[in-house]
Structure formats: structure tokens, C-alpha cells
């Protein structure tokens, strides 16, 4: 119990400090050499807090959920364990964050796609039907950007795979680095199919096979099945993993988008807790007036 209370206390302090966005740093190779796993790759295993990856575009339409206050969520957050070490928290102030390409953060929308998402947003509050209920309130797996980064992450490495576990919605991404190909094109997944490879000390993760049912953010409530992402994980010191994400979705955008963020070391002794979503949520019974069990 003591540990849980510590999580909440530290997370509250972090949440109160707003982190100003800064420009991308130059790409000089790091001098520091990371610890290594037995197979010779940088050892990134441990608990991490992800920061800065929000897809916050310039000139965004108003979030239909903004009336629900600072969490932007129409329901209370139960667990709040996104903690980081003091060193990591300090380092975050100088880290690149958010959309770094295009530099002005105006996303290269196709006009018809921008119109479609504005139309979508106009039906969300009150929701016109199930599909307009905000994704996290439906417990939809978060995709690569739709999660709640107040929850921590854990990295486990094995020969042949790199495992990224989200506390949020208990997602587990087993990223194979054994040279296997992507799944066949007719298999479509909420979290996509991730294949990794090491380029020097950087893990490069190529993800395809997405379905079109996850969201990028509260104001970008969908993407298409042709979404293709490339993530780059580079450990730059014991407390920081540099995280870069390139998004290509030619049905939405005319050019790739690059996002920068950070995995910052979490406090020692923290553990992933269970995140039960559908088991506890009353959102859909409240909206539709009935639950999943006859007695509800």
C-alpha cells in the first residue's frame, strides 16, 4: 500500500509541472555507452515513464472532451503511477517533444480527411452512436499514441525480441528482432504488427497491419489501415531513452509526420499494476441505459 501511495504522490507532482516544448536537438552521437544485454545490444530493461509524444497539432479544433476538465476524460482516473526519478524529471526539461516535423506543427492534412475528422468530432458529445464514444472510454487498445502516459511502461529484452509493456490497458507489444517478416496483409490488429531491427545501438521498429479503429488523440479520432509507423529507441544516458516516431498515413496526410518523445526512468521499486478497463467502466451503460448483464 505504501508503494501505491508513493506512486500517486509523485505522479501528482509531475503532472503539475508543465513541460515546455523545445526544438529538436542536433543529432550528435552520444558519447555515453549503455549497459549491454548478453547478446550485445543496449540494455533498456526496466520501468519507464513516456513523456512528450502527444500529437498536439497547431490550429487543432477544440476537443469535444475539453469540457470535462484537465484530464480531458469524462471519468475519474483510478490508478496514476507514471513516476520518474528526479534525474529523469530534470532531464526532461531539455528534451525534444511533440511534433517536430513539420516544424510549425501544422499537420499536412488532406482536405477531405480533415473535413471527415471535424465532422466526426461534432458527433462525439453527446455521442451519436457507439463509434463516436471516445476510444479510451470504450477501452479500445491505444495504438501507438492513444494511451495515457500517466501510466508507466516496462521493457523486457530477450534474444530475438524486445518487449514493451504498457500499464495503460495492459497492452503487451512483443517486437520480434529475429528477422521474421510482417504478418500477411489480411491480418489487421489494433496495435499493428511490429517488427524490430537493431541499427547500431538504436532499436528501429517498423509497424504495419493496423486496423482503422484506434485514435491518435482526442482531436484526431481515427487513422486508416494504411498507417505505417517507424519508431526509434536510443538510450542516451541511464535515465533517458530518446524516442522518435514517424507516421505515414497517406489517406490522411500528404507527408510523413515526425514526433519526438522520451522514455524517462521510473522510480526504483515500481511495478506495473493491473489496469482493468471494461471490468470497471460504467460509461457505456450510462450512455445506452443498459449493461451487459441482465441484472444491470
Amino acid at each position: 500500500m505504501k508503494r501505491t501511495l508513493l506512486h500517486i504522490a509523485v505522479a501528482t507532482i509531475l503532472a503539475a509541472a508543465t513541460l515546455p516544448p523545445v526544438q529538436a536537438q542536433d543529432q550528435t552521437p552520444p558519447k555515453w555507452s549503455p549497459p549491454r544485454t548478453a547478446d550485445g545490444h543496449p540494455d533498456m530493461q526496466g520501468m519507464w515513464a513516456r513523456r512528450g509524444t502527444q500529437m498536439a497539432e497547431a490550429n487543432a479544433p477544440k476537443s469535444p472532451l475539453s469540457e470535462f476538465g484537465t484530464t480531458g476524460q469524462p471519468y475519474p482516473t483510478v490508478f496514476n503511477t507514471g513516476v520518474s526519478t528526479p534525474q529523469a524529471a530534470a532531464a526532461l526539461a531539455n528534451r525534444p517533444s511533440g511534433i517536430i516535423e513539420p516544424g510549425n506543427r501544422v499537420l499536412p492534412w488532406r482536405p477531405e480527411a480533415d473535413a471527415a475528422r471535424r465532422e466526426f468530432l461534432s458527433h462525439m458529445i453527446p455521442p451519436a452512436s457507439l463509434k463516436y464514444v471516445e476510444a479510451s472510454a470504450r477501452c479500445v487498445p491505444p495504438g501507438l499514441l492513444g494511451g495515457d502516459d500517466r501510466h508507466p511502461y516496462q521493457i523486457i529484452q530477450r534474444p530475438g525480441s524486445f518487449v514493451l509493456m504498457y500499464e495503460y490497458n495492459h497492452v503487451t507489444r512483443v517486437i520480434h528482432t529475429d528477422g521474421r517478416p510482417h504478418l500477411g496483409p489480411n491480418i489487421r490488429l489494433y496495435m499493428g504488427d511490429s517488427i524490430g531491427r537493431w541499427e547500431g545501438d538504436t532499436l528501429v521498429v517498423d509497424t504495419t497491419n493496423f486496423n482503422d479503429k484506434t485514435s491518435f488523440s482526442q482531436t484526431i479520432p481515427f487513422h486508416s489501415e494504411v498507417l505505417h509507423t517507424v519508431e526509434r529507441f536510443t538510450m542516451v544516458d541511464p535515465n533517458i531513452i530518446d524516442y522518435q516516431l514517424t507516421i505515414e498515413d497517406p489517406k490522411l496526410f500528404t507527408a510523413p509526420i515526425r514526433i519526438a518523445g522520451t522514455f524517462a526512468a521510473a522510480a526504483k521499486g515500481s511495478e506495473l499494476m493491473e489496469f482493468a478497463c471494461a471490468e470497471g467502466s460504467q460509461t457505456l451503460p450510462n450512455i445506452f441505459g443498459f449493461g451487459l448483464f441482465p441484472e444491470q
Binding site: 452512436s129 457507439l130 523486457i156 491480418i187 493491473e274 450512455i287
Partner: protein, 257 residues
Amino acid sequence: MALGFVLGTFLLAIPVWAQGPARAIPRTPDGKPDLNGVWQVLNAAAWDLEDHNASLRMPAGQSVVESGEIPYRPAALAKKKENFQRREASDPVEAACYMPGVPRATYMPFPFEIIQNPKLITMSYEFGHARRSIFTDGTPHPDGFPDFWMGDSRGRWEGDTLVVDVTNLDERTWLDHAGNHHSDALHVLERYTLTDPDHILYEATLEDPKVFTRPWKISMPLYRRLEKNVKILEYECVQYIQEQKYGNAKPVVGAKP
């Protein structure tokens, strides 16, 4: 002579693995049995742990309970029978896609992956992308934790067997689709023994004095999934059940999420 020749031919035809001593099990660098991989049961325990006949969308199965039947207290047996009658509407896994709990997650008819490192063994289940962390770092169950759908698991090695102590299990899970149930006092002791490179003997002892007259045990093999490039895919049960129940429903006027 002729008979001996025929027998000899048969012997030669038997695969090498069936003739020699048991194949050595794989081990991690720290010398423990290496449980990493994708595993799945081949039985009908998810529908009913005990002996049962087939019915629509339910295969028949022999009991996986060592003593054959679950030793219920009388009131708990009555509740089990009531659960059975209303199982289509009330089984938390089938009606609402809730996490199956332990041990039910193990014998769902879906694969799961074991991700092993020295201090933490993670089990990642395809059904509903449920997951549990088994801490093997010597830590005890924390004081004051709430109950979890997948419980709190602390593991240790007894020789070559992984022994997992599971507490803090939410009383709302069922043990199978037949309505076998437990209370918040359930304590599960699991044993995972790699008997050869491709089989784990899975045993679980269930203790719950509010519901059962004595501890009882289930056992079954887990089979390694050997397909080339096999991986855990998605069975997003919650999304499918929402679509079925609410896909054509109209929101209540004035409702806010």
C-alpha cells in the same frame, strides 16, 4: 528370423526422439528451465473443469480435477448449479469479456506467451490481451493491495518447477463456463514443470475455505505452439461484445459519458 527382421524394421521406423532418453529441456543463462514461448492447452476445461458431455458450441471433456469432482460446500454447490442455469447471460468471460482470472486464463482455448527474465515472468494471454506479472525477485504479496482480476502472483523455483503463489483474486471471476466459482478467499498455488522442450505440466491447487471443503487440484499439459513465426495475435473480446450489444443501440437522450 523373419519375425525378428520385421520387428527390427519397425524399430528403425520409430523416430529418434521416441527411442532415446528424454530430450534435455532448454535453460536460461541463470540455469532455470526456459519457459519462454507460446503455449496452449488442448482440452475442454474452459467450458467445464469436470466430466461433461458435448452440447452446441461446447466440446465434451474429461475432468481435469484430480479427485474427479470439485469438493463444494452445500451452499456453494447450489450456487454453482444456479450459475450453470444462467451461464450464457452471466459468465463474466462470455457475457462481458472480463479478464478470466487465475487459473482460468491458462486453459482458455487461446494461446499465451511466457516472457521470462530472472526477476519477472510475464504471461501475456491472447484472450482480451490479459496479462499477469509473476515476480520472482523474492518479494512477498504486498500488504493492503486490492483484489485484481488476474490476482497478485509471486513465484519461486523449487528445483526445476516454477511455483507461483496467487492471492488478491477478485471474487467475481468464474473458474469455467459451467459456473464453477470461488470467493475472495481463493488462494491458488500453481506449478509449471517443463517435462520436455515442448510440454509443460501445469498443476494448480485451489484453496478457498468459504466455498470448498478442502483444497483440490487440477492438472493438464501445456503444449508449445510450434508453427513457424507463431506469435500472439489479438482477440479483442471487449470490442466485439460492445459491437454486438451497443452497435445498433441509441444513446439515452441527454446522456453524458
